[in-house]
């Protein structure tokens, strides 16, 4: 009789939900993201299942952070092929500090995926031939086993394919769920997928893509050279770096985001974790709108929005005066000592009606 070793991908994924030990209490999690919805025009999940995606399969256009693919607008549901590749590569974590990142498409976070409710998505996950380990993907936008994790498990050099229909609108995190999951995420394996409602989100002038993640290195914050993942610090939840878009400098200097006064700005924000949540805040600006937890509930006039690990928020604001806005995790030691800091350069005419410094 052959002995069998069971490797549970969903179980690894569930580690983040922190509910894996008492799942019995949850009747079902397939439709929960739609509960409490207050916005109009949101189709129910049952309706979404009936939407027929027309036409031939098309290649989805993905973007690297901080960019976002064009809005879906009024288009009908269609058949999309999404191709992503898991790539292990050395990159800059901080000035003078490198790290061996595990990535989707070579960036942290991985490519931004944009689709709409009712789209049929054929997902191709290729694992680069030079990878050391197996990788897969768990998309929180998927209704199905492990969010696709088991179906997408790919050995180095191999490709795995699975299909799903986008049912729930919202901004969802995706991440690698190959064991040991926390290490894969700690090395940078996460990203965002936006499922727009029918008719699309209201148009804005500028859209950006930012994710926060915590990193655990052998050397202390500031130690130079190639740093290795430190499992003990990961378990203790003591990150040396907490950064936006995989590097302390990803949104600073020449990488600062650029907007003009009067432009309506939307930021798709997510937290990859693996451990640390974000008190997401922009110094000098108030969020006119927050799509709470990336779902359909809209809150208005928000100063700081709390985003869980493995969760997201969509924030909107319109800068009215020129100057630098500072993006932070308002748990401020992180911003000043661990890296959660970025800038938005706002250009345009002074607007003393709204703000004026007195000499």
């Amino acid at each position: 009789m052959k002995k069998q070793f069971f490797l549970s991908t969903l179980g690894f994924a569930a580690i983040f939900a922190l509910t894996s030990c008492n799942q019995g209490n949850n009747p079902s999690n397939t439709t929960s993201s739609n509960s409490g919805s207050s916005s109009s025009g949101t189709v129910t999940v049952v309706d979404a299942e009936k939407i027929v995606a027309e036409g031939q399969f098309e290649e989805a256009k993905l973007t690297a952070p901080p960019n976002v693919p064009p809005p879906i607008g009024n288009r009908k549901a269609k058949k999309l092929i999404v191709r992503m590749e898991t790539i292990e590569k050395v990159g800059e974590l901080a000035d003078g500090t490198d790290y061996t990142f595990w990535t989707f498409d070579g960036t942290v976070p991985g490519s931004f995926i944009r689709a709409r409710v009712g789209d049929d998505i054929e997902f191709h996950l290729k694992n680069n031939a030079n990878s050391t380990v197996a990788h897969n993907i768990d998309l929180h936008a998927v209704n199905g086993p492990g969010g696709g994790a088991a179906a997408s498990n790919a050995a180095p050099g191999k490709e795995a394919v699975f299909s799903f229909k986008a049912l729930n609108p919202g901004l969802y995190v995706y991440h690698c769920a190959t064991a040991p999951v926390p290490e894969h995420i700690a090395n940078g394996m996460y990203g965002l997928i936006l499922i727009e409602p029918e008719g699309g989100l209201p148009p804005v002038d500028k859209e950006f893509y930012i994710m926060q993640g915590d990193f655990y290195t052998k050397g202390k914050n500031g130690a130079k050279g190639l740093q290795q993942f430190d499992i003990e610090k990961g378990i203790a939840e003591h990150p040396d770096y907490i950064v936006f878009n995989g590097s302390t400098r990803s949104l600073l200097g020449n990488n600062a985001l650029q907007v003009k006064t009067g432009e309506k700005v939307r930021i798709y924000f997510g937290v990859g974790g693996p451990n640390i949540t974000s008190s997401f805040h922009i110094i000098g600006e108030i969020f006119d709108k927050v799509y709470v937890e990336g779902g359909s509930t809209i809150n208005e006039h928000v100063q700081t929005t709390l985003v869980p690990a493995g969760g997201s928020a969509i924030v909107e604001f319109t800068p009215t005066v020129p100057g630098d806005l500072v993006i932070v995790d308002h748990s401020l030691f992180r911003a000043f000592h661990k890296g959660t800091i970025g800038k938005i350069k706002v250009t345009g005419p002074e607007n003393p009606n709204v703000f004026k410094a007195h000499k």
Binding site: T100, P145, G157, E183
Partner: protein, 275 residues
């Protein structure tokens, strides 16, 4: 939904098992006979013992491992070349696709020309499970089982079982981050307690029963794995750390099929002790 998961995965797993349980498939005039070669590979005696499994149905229990011999290093390019010379049916141009996918020896320069970028004494990689088995047969050996591999893999340089040493776990976790090590000659580091080299940080290794590792969609199917790894696991004991490092090996075993050929997947052979 849960039952659907089970159904889908059962299908997947059944088909997976089938491949590996079949003997080498017959096809046309392809020769499935393996011609013996002489190997001077040094083996080490591994004394019988037991180890605590960290994965699967028997998770946490002690599994007995009988005495056996194990190659001191992974099989090298040079050694594999001598196998090919006697067994041309296993050269890149003649091998059956069913037995080795298109990645088979793709880094070699020709049927009998070793890779340009790897040392002759580097582990042979881009080798399918079928090919590894055929090689083992040609030298009168076999592949080690998962239990045998894990039992030997628990040893550090000075002790049989280093599972409880955080520095050993750290060493294994670090080994996952080393890249392109499969291009270097074997014996990059000191041997472990048994005199076995390169268990970590060089290549992944085929095991006879690798396909017993199953990716299930629902951890609740397997009570032990789930509770052992996720609930009780919230307290970070050294045993949990050990589990953590082992995850990657099992994830790798669960991601491959018998005809897969991968850049950093090689093998070493084992042998029974004849009494």
């Amino acid at each position: 939904m849960r039952s659907l998961v089970t159904v889908i995965l059962s299908v997947l797993l059944l088909s997976c098992n089938k491949v590996t349980d079949t003997l080498i498939p017959q096809s046309g005039n392809w020769v499935d006979t393996v011609y013996p070669i002489v190997s001077e590979k040094k083996m080490q005696l591994i004394d019988a013992g037991s180890y605590k499994t960290f994965f699967g149905k028997d998770s946490g229990s002690f599994v007995q491992v009988k005495s056996f011999y194990l190659d001191e290093t992974p099989v090298t390019n040079k050694e594999y070349l001598s196998f090919l010379k006697k067994n041309p049916q296993w050269t890149r141009s003649q091998v059956l696709r069913l037995l080795a996918d298109t990645g088979y020896l793709h880094n070699w320069q020709g049927d009998y020309e070793m890779p340009a970028n790897a040392a002759p004494d580097a582990p042979v990689t881009n080798i399918s499970w079928y090919a590894a088995r055929a090689y083992a047969k040609s030298v009168g050996k076999r592949l080690p089982t998962i239990d045998e591999w894990e039992f030997v893999g628990a040893a550090d340089q000075v002790s049989k079982n280093a599972s409880d040493k955080p520095e050993f776990v750290d060493y294994i976790v670090k080994s996952l981050l080393k890249r392109m090590m499969y291009l270097k000659p074997v014996k990059q580091e000191a041997a472990n307690f048994y005199g076995i080299y390169d268990m970590y940080g060089m290549v992944w290794e085929w095991t006879e029963d690798f396909s017993a590792v199953m990716i299930t969609g629902d951890s609740r199917d397997d009570k032990n794995a789930n509770e052992g790894l996720f609930c009780a696991g919230s307290a970070a004991t050294t045993q949990d750390l050990k589990n953590y490092a082992a995850f990657a090996r099992f994830a790798m075993r669960g991601s491959v099929r018998a005809n897969y050929c991968i850049n950093n997947l090689g093998f070493r052979c084992a042998k029974n002790i004849v009494e």
